[in-house]
Amino acid sequence: MAHFDENARPFSHKWLNERLAVDTLKRVLSTEYWIPKNINFLWAMGMVLAATFGLLLISGIFLLMYYQPNTQLAFDSVNYTIMSEVGYGWLWRHIHGVGASVVFLIIYIHMFTGIYYGSYKRGRELIWLSGMLLFVLFSAEAFSGYMLPWGQMSYWAGMVITNLFSMGGLHLNGLVEWIRGDYVPGQAFLNRFFMLHVLLVPLAIIGVIVLHFGTLRIPHVNNQDGEEIDFEEAAELYKAGKVKESKVIPFNPVFLSKDVFVMGVYFVIFFYLVFYHFEFAMDPVNFDPADPLKTPTHIYPEWYFLWSYEVLRPFSTNIGLIAFAFAQVIFFLLPFLDRSPNVAPASRRGLFKYWFWALLIDMIILTFMGKLPPEGIWSTIGLVAALTFFGLWIALPIITSKEKKL
């Protein structure tokens, strides 16, 4: 039984300590949460993501006060009510739209940083897996949110993506109708995607963010050289005042001070986009109200889904769906497909170096082709890039098992 001092003043330090262990919490989560010193600004992307998620959450709460999840009203509630009648509604909407796009850019940078430095290995597998889970959840969040303005692209992207669940040759039309709640996207469809976007998926995201932080606490953050640090020893050195010799820094305030600076620079760019260059995140096609009788000439997802869309597109329906399913799960398997014992930056890992850059460039090519109309040379390049994508993942266990131990 814990001991409670009856004379402690309510909410005094002692009183809180006995009930919440605030000193221990602060030590474990902040002042003695050790981070390697040998890192660069890419290590701040986690905090940048958290901050962007915060912006999305806050702007979303304001938008939610005026948005109408009704097929007759949704378009004008977004484009008229929020944009011209609500004070600063346009600002919240542009923050939300730009944030949704930029958050994926940062996620991809964060992911490729992890791949480059091998931060998914040797005790860090769960960090990678929970991160991938977040990627999937953010994708669901982005897609469901894209339905809400009920523009042409909302409607037709909703149609195309839910159609995938018929599973091609299996013709599971019943499943598609069950998901839509109707034969075509309509009121039931909009309502359930609204629920997913504002409740279920954000709830799951918040939960998995906590898990993601949790998975990080014991294996600690990786560093620029993949060096295995004895954190306890380094921490003792730091606490003894030898901050220069120690290989670690405390999360608060040393690591945080750098994070905050990186966030400051990031926000300058972010708000430049919000005020002067938001069109990239808000497709013109979606400013036409949903029209079930008129299919847009080009249907394409937002940029961050283009690579997986292009993995699906060059093939016949069934093979395409299998390819698509492969692309969705393959990144989860990265810690197990990489057979090398080395935790080091890709530049020091022989063939893996080429594998890393080939994957990055291949995914950028897939992204380009995913938006272009699938005609002539574009579909050939798309097909080659899609096949390369599979080839790279098949090659990964082979080249990494041959890698020399550093």
């Binding site: 346009w90 600076f261 926000f267 990239f280 096609v285 080009h298 272009l372």
Partner: protein
């Protein structure tokens, strides 16, 4: 230094990505149409000079269908009856001289269907000779107001086919302010107006083949280049479209665009006002954060 190199790599890949999915993709997806600055080079220059006095006499024929409100000449029929007769309500002519290109206007009077490139244009040829046409144009220029508001430009050039619900504009005019019955909530006047708009829209859709779209937010749904070349010559962007070439001058088009911007992108002035403050705030924030970081990291390297 190493960090700047890494930053450089991230920035380069990000910019390549942006280039591919935005400017490059859009350049491949949309056909490029060259504009002519609203000069209508397909129409020959006028060989004669118009005389407004003579034009005034000829205009007596116009008011059989059109109103010229600025000169106290009312429309012979209301908008709905006009639509039932012609398919669309003929425009008020008060501002035509200020909005239309002179050359276009004169050729239009000689052969409306050909000049508008619209398959079934309701208006018949309305000038006997190039001289008559030039005289009529001169008359309309003489009565044209010096300053036309963006909204008037829209009403004259677009407003009888295209509603703009964000500005409460219907093809038959402003939505009137009405009151509902306090006991029942029924607003008979509003319902009556809605019915009139409905009859008009049905007739208009028959005439045009489909109902021309509401333009409330078209400014964000189409690129600037598309709108400009489309209004200048609808066939260039959408071959076969029922939309007629309306013959605006460059200035006339700019007015229409101003109006569309006001209804479709009303936050533009507010963005431009607030933007520098927010960005300035974060520059200051980043600078202070940098100083804080420097002081905290002192002795760490």
């Amino acid at each position: 230094m190493k960090e700047l190199k890494i930053l450089g790599v991230v920035v380069v890949f990000t910019l390549i990505l942006y280039w591919g999915v935005e400017p490059f993709a859009h350049s491949q997806m949309h056909k490029h149409v060259e504009g002519h600055d609203f000069k209508y080079p397909d129409l020959p220059a006028l060989k004669v000079k118009g005389n407004a006095e003579n034009g005034k006499a000829l205009v007596a024929a116009c008011v059989g269908c059109h109103s010229i409100k600025s000169q106290g000449m009312a429309a012979p029929m209301d908008a709905v009856t006009s639509a039932q007769t012609y398919g669309v309500n003929p425009p008020d002519l008060s501002n035509m001289g200020a909005l239309l290109d002179e050359k276009f206007f004169a050729h239009f009077l000689l052969d409306p269907a050909k000049v508008t490139k619209s398959k079934h244009f309701a208006m018949p040829p309305s000038a006997g000779s190039e001289q008559d046409a030039a005289d009529i144009v001169a008359y309309f220029k003489s009565i044209a107001p010096k300053e036309i508001s963006p909204k008037e430009a829209y009403e004259t050039a677009c407003g009888r086919c295209h509603a703009n619900r964000y500005d409460h504009w219907t093809q038959i005019g402003e939505v009137p302010k009405t009151k509902s019955n306090i006991k029942t909530g029924v607003d008979l006047d509003a319902l009556a107006f809605k019915k009139k708009v409905g009859i008009y829209e049905n007739k208009l859709a028959d005439y045009m083949g489909k109902l021309p779209p509401d333009l409330s937010i078209i400014i964000r749904a189409r690129s600037e280049q598309f709108l400009e070349t489309f209004v200048e010559d609808p066939q260039s962007q959408l071959p076969g479209t029922a939309m007629p070439r309306v013959g605006l001058t460059k200035e006339g088009y700019e007015k229409v665009k101003d109006y569309l911007e006001k209804t479709g992108d009303p936050s533009k002035p507010k963005r431009e006002e607030l933007g520098p403050w927010v960005i300035g705030y974060f520059i200051l924030f980043a600078f202070l954060a940098f100083l804080w970081k420097k002081s905290i990291w002192k002795g760490h390297h």
